[in-house]
Symmetry: C2
DNA sequence: ACACTGAGTGGAAGCCGTTCCAGAAATTTC
DNA sequence: GAAATTTCTGGAACGGCTTCCACTCAGTGT
């Protein structure tokens, strides 16, 4: 394997000049640059990643930490981050917590090995000690999905989303509106789901509509679980809501399938609205609020790389809201009034 | 930041001994080891990843290359690989081609920087030049999803899967069976889809059943596209097949939704079978062939790490078949015979 | 007692680029 | 045309850990 010394020798210059010519740092005469580059390509020279990282202290490598790769939101965001990093010539090191299974391992062992230039942490709720731990490593972090004290963050306005979705249903004339979201309590992760639930509750309260415990479902964000919950919810005709606001499109799809299996007509007998912008929603005719997951990924990368630019000074960590888009499809409509239509 | 020299000094030994004590290579007296480890933890010492990689030539880092992170099969396999790598203390560097968009970049720039101990290439069809390129980097590769000349591989028996799925439908009494799969031609990727299609065609031929061009659909493996294709296929009642074999569960789901939107009863008027073992299949009642994507990921890691063990000698690259499991649910049944049931 | 192991240790030479420093060469300035 | 810059260049010192080599010393065998 050819090293930079070999290149230098063949080009008739010193390793120092060869290094400058190849990296573009420092000034090199046109002739020397030409000689070096052609020597390098002749030898098929590829610089040693580790040697250069050791010498410069930068690794052109960003870590992405998330709780589940195989959930739509995360994998889509990851795809966006991957594209942006690749365009910038950065590697992406993936850390999938798999719930909480690898939480300690990632936080303790992996993140601290001084091998990443920066970290993007998605839907990750850190406690004080963990924040300290990461900041002590001295690498920039961008958090996605919730406020992370002392760090740059990107997030959606979850109470706003919950409110918007709920108000859409209310404006259609619904009064019996259920919600399927994540856990109530402030857990280890960002309280996305809580945020959306809060928006739902506020919108209901503002409209003077009743909240019922039975209509406030907690799910693990999977289609299957939402299906099961919705089926149970909808089984009792008397207690049945006329609309469901699900905190994700996958859960909304579960609700839709449950309704179908119960023989309910959509949207006449049940309106459903989700959040995400999942492609599947097109086919299902699902009304949703697109949160542009892919763009969240690219945006997180942009902000992280901005912090990594040589000149860049530690701007105070800003909290940035990402845009969303309301998409009305055929899963929501005015409630079907038996009396009127007969 | 404390370096190993600081640890050595505090422990009263040389850096050489400190290194041996911490890495476990070479012999160190119990007393020295004790002194070093306590000095290390007192100083909060974390070894420099790049320095150690440079010195040893190994980086405890494996690359995973795949065409789409946000497709069920790939993200599930990735999750498995991630878990296995994390357990072994390895980092995972992700390269998502995003179709072919980053193909050249990944192959040319990233893979060759001597920064990975090994590579797992999923559903990646390499041409001769590319194989040579990768092998020239001298790092072990495990291919998943198809035979890769000269490399260790893991794959499903796709013709067998296609045959099994088709024979299931035939044994139920179907004769009008359509297939939705990937592209016919040998593309840049593994010919999974082609393999499954071949199995389908063979099974049909063996049973003396007719193949029709109109019943052989090519899709891009997304739910939405399969939905569109199936809707078109099923629209014409006269030409309609009584069963569809889809090469993936997401496509099968698309077909199911299309059938539902056309008012067809499942499985009476249409049987559908998929391949994957997607969780969503439980709710849809989808008959499928589970290919244990997650295990494919862990297995690929196991085989790769076996090659990385110090002692391990380059065994000849074996081609390994992964198991599958047939799961019968409610989306397949005997065809509904109008004449008989009236 | 005497040569013979083998565990344990420190010194120093790597691994392979990058960059500081100082000096040489080419420009520019007046 | 001399002085002042600016551009280029090579030597050498890093970056931080690992490991080869040589050597000490305690334990083994006879």
């Amino acid at each position: 394997m050819a090293g930079i010394k070999d290149v230098a020798r063949l080009a008739g210059v010193s390793p120092a000049t060869a290094s400058r010519a190849l990296s573009g740092n420092g000034s090199v005469s046109a002739r020397a640059r030409q000689a070096v580059t052609s020597a390098a390509s002749e030898l098929g020279f590829i610089g040693s990643y580790h040697a250069s990282s050791l010498a410069t202290g930068r690794s052109r490598n960003v870590g992405v930490v998330l709780p589940y790769v195989n959930r739509w939101y995360f994998s889509t965001l990851l795809e966006g981050a991957n594209a942006a990093l690749m365009d910038a010539g950065y590697d992406l090191t993936l850390y999938d917590f798999q719930g909480d299974r690898y939480r300690e391992t990632v936080l303790g062992d992996f993140l601290l090995r001084k091998r990443l230039d920066g970290v993007i942490a998605v839907s990750l709720q850190l406690n004080e000690h963990e924040v300290k731990q990461i900041l002590s490593a001295g690498i920039p972090v961008v958090g996605v999905g919730g406020p992370l004290p002392g760090m740059a963050t990107i997030r959606t306005d979850d109470p706003g989303i919950g409110r918007q979705a709920t108000e859409h249903l209310i404006s259609l004339g619904h009064t019996r509106i259920a919600h399927i979201g994540g856990e109530h309590e402030v857990g280890r992760y960002f309280k996305i789901s809580t945020g959306r639930r809060v928006g739902y509750e506020e919108a209901m309260a503002d409209a003077g509509l009743p909240l019922r415990d039975a209509w406030s479902l907690v799910s693990d964000y999977t289609l299957n679980d939402a299906y099961a919950q919705a089926k149970h919810l909808l089984a009792n005709a008397a207690e049945r809501p006329t609309a469901i606001f699900a905190a994700s499109d996958e859960m909304a799809a579960g609700a839709l399938l449950a309704a179908r299996d119960l023989g309910l007509r959509i949207p006449d007998e049940l309106s459903v609205i989700g959040v995400d912008g999942h492609e599947m929603g097109e086919v299902l005719g699902l009304t949703t609020i697109d949160q542009f997951a892919r763009q969240q990924g690219t945006r997180a990368v942009d902000r992280l790389l901005a912090q990594l630019k040589p000149g860049a000074e530690p701007t105070e960590p800003a909290d940035e809201l990402v845009q969303t888009r309301f998409i009305v499809r055929s899963s929501t409509a005015a409630p079907y009034i038996r009396a009127r239509s007969r």
